[in-house]
């Protein structure tokens, strides 16, 4: 099998000597790729392995647990606010993603398919906001949140990201690809303007919408600096912010941190494995266009 693949790709173009050197080059490639791949995976395996270790084994230096148990999971789930933080993160990421998917696609559609005075100004304005780093905006956002009593609420956590400039830019690109004839035909058939967006255009950009939804969910699930600033009540923290509470002044409960980490990371890894192709292709597509 290997030989036939080789012949198909290179057999006609190379002599035997070159074919052999090609094989050597490939072997070297595989060697380094596997080595790098191990570096990518080992920290995760270590994290998961540690989550099954009793506290007494933490400083023993064994890679895999000797007496594996679910005690850490029991402690994290039953005796800490971790489930609440999990829920908070889930609610925030879900709400913000629903809003982003709806509004970004609606604005993208409007900018791609309608002509109206001020359109270009609005588009440039939205693109311009992409240049301003979040880190600068957290200061006014915080002052606003204190004044408006948004601190320690879900709205306070999600409001900066319920509509995103990047997503609008992306959706505009894809909405431009929806044929005008189709929209005009539907319009003549009496479909309302909102129906044109909702029932005609939106189904045609589903793959892009899915990519946007996945990235946005990931981004919100992992967001750190803003939730860290806006939430201070312990029951309103998100997962990444809450993790720090396992580390006290005197000692760090590594077994609990690794357990909480595993619980927060593994569902995402599952999502990633399932949608691996779409996510990576989405990155390649949008990354190059952005």
């Amino acid at each position: 099998m290997a030989v036939s693949v080789e012949q198909k790709t290179h057999g006609s173009r190379y002599g035997i000597g070159q074919r052999r050197s090609e094989a050597i080059v490939k072997a070297i490639c595989y060697f380094f790729l596997i080595l790098g791949g191990i570096t990518m995976v080992v920290p995760f395996i270590w994290m998961i392995a540690t989550s099954f270790k009793p506290a007494s084994e933490i400083y023993m230096g064994n890679f895999f647990p000797k007496a594996a148990s679910l005690d850490n999971y029991r402690e994290v789930i039953l005796k800490t606010l971790f489930p609440r933080w999990y829920l908070n993160s889930f609610i925030c990421a879900t709400l913000s993603t629903l809003s982003v998917v709806f509004f970004d696609s609606l604005v993208g559609y409007t900018l791609a398919k309608y002509d109206f005075p001020g359109k270009n100004v609005i588009f440039v304005l939205i693109l311009g906001t992409l240049m301003v780093p979040t880190e600068m905006l957290v200061i006014p956002w915080y002052i606003m949140s204190v004044d408006l009593h948004w601190a320690d609420t879900y709205w306070g956590i999600i409001f900066p990201g319920v509509i995103t400039g990047g997503g609008i830019f992306l959706m505009r690109q894809f909405m431009s690809g929806v044929p005008n004839d189709l929209i005009d035909a539907a319009r003549i058939d009496g479909v309302s303007e909102f129906g044109l967006y909702w029932r005609v255009a939106l189904p045609l950009v589903k793959p892009a919408l899915a990519a946007l939804a996945i990235f946005n969910f990931l981004g919100n699930w992992n967001a750190y600096i803003w939730p860290l600033i806006v939430s201070s009540a312990r029951e309103m923290l998100t997962l990444p912010v809450g993790l720090a509470y396992f580390s006290g002044e005197a000692s760090t409960d590594w077994h609990l941190i690794m357990t909480a980490n595993t619980l927060s990371v593994v569902p995402l890894l599952a999502v990633f494995v399932i949608f691996q192709r779409q996510i990576i292709e989405g990155i390649a597509l949008t990354g190059l266009k952005g």
């Binding site: 994290m47 609606l106 109206f116 690794m258 890894l269």
Partner: protein
């Protein structure tokens, strides 16, 4: 005529209706706060005191004064931030390009490798930082266990002022590698095969193919990644606050970044004015890099 016009008008009204809420959002949450941040940066803005006096450029002058003092936190923050960029961006791109070229050459398991290298990128930075902080532990951390197993001297990593920054930048490189690889792979796919064939007929060897065909044609991708990753490293915060013991950019300020210093000024000491001024400086740096990218890309994109 009248009917056509009114149809047009009606569509325009719909368009405005569709973007009304988003437009209000951008004005209230993005554009307004940007101007508000500029306003805060020229005031002495302590969130606890009702008075917010206008002080002109005093916040910026203080940053400049501190910057000239080699021992100040501001100086260390800017120095470290540039170190993260200068070390992080080239190392990450060279590694990513090498891996992308290798992935481009092999025929099996490509998508498996792609996925594995991408895993850290989709994982939360906080989670990853906690894992690496544990990996770097003296004595009981896996890396030191490995070192002593190999008979090498143990290292202090995050607790050593000379090693802490390198230890943190390594994690940032590690985490962002997958993203750069995917972008490079997409860039490589866009290079027409005929260039390679033509060069091969001319007798070019592998190294010449890389130098004379791949790298020049990959130039737009490289510029794009340099800019994107530079901005990412300029904004370093999460890794440093999570991996340093008091979240202070220690030991001895050896890892503190501009954003972390802003956070401590603004949200630790409530000095919003100087925090905002610091971010305005960062914003200007990011804007210059972005504009430079636009010029570079428009100039070099034709072949």
């Amino acid at each position: 005529m009248f009917k056509k016009l009114s149809l047009r008008r009606r569509q325009q009204l719909w368009a405005y209706a569709f973007i009304l809420i988003p437009l209000f959002f951008f004005l209230a949450i993005r554009i307004g706060p940007t101007l508000f941040a500029l306003n805060v940066s020229v005031r002495e803005w302590n969130i606890l005191s009702p008075e917010k006096p206008f002080v002109g450029l005093a916040n910026f002058e203080r940053i400049w004064q501190d910057f000239q003092n080699p021992k100040s936190v501001v100086r260390r923050a800017f120095q470290n931030t540039f170190s993260y960029v200068i070390i992080g961006v080239p190392t990450q791109l060279v590694l990513a390009l090498a891996i992308a070229l290798m992935l481009d050459r092999i025929t099996r398991l490509v998508s498996l490798f792609r996925a594995i290298y991408f895993i850290p990128f989709v994982t939360s930075t906080v989670a990853i930082s906690w894992v690496w902080r544990w990996m770097y532990q003296p004595r009981f951390g896996p890396i030191n266990l490995l070192l002593s197993f190999l008979g090498l001297p143990e290292q202090n990593f995050l607790r050593d002022p000379d090693q802490a920054l390198l230890s943190i930048v390594a994690v940032a490189i590690w985490q962002g590698l997958g993203f750069a690889i995917i972008i490079f792979l997409a860039g490589l796919k866009q290079i027409p095969q005929m260039y390679y064939e033509a060069a091969r007929i001319d007798g070019a060897n592998r190294w010449q193919l890389l130098r004379r065909v791949t790298l020049p044609l990959l130039n737009p991708t490289i510029v794009y990644l340099v800019v994107l990753q530079s901005i990412r490293f300029l904004r370093m915060f999460t890794q440093v606050i999570t991996m340093t013991r008091q979240g202070d950019g220690g030991p001895l300020n050896s890892t503190v970044t501009v954003v972390l210093h802003m956070y401590r000024e603004g949200f630790g000491r409530y000095k919003m004015g100087s925090a905002a001024a610091l971010m305005v400086v960062l914003f200007l740096i990011i804007m210059m890099i972005t504009l430079a990218q636009m010029r570079l890309l428009t100039r070099r994109v034709e072949y």
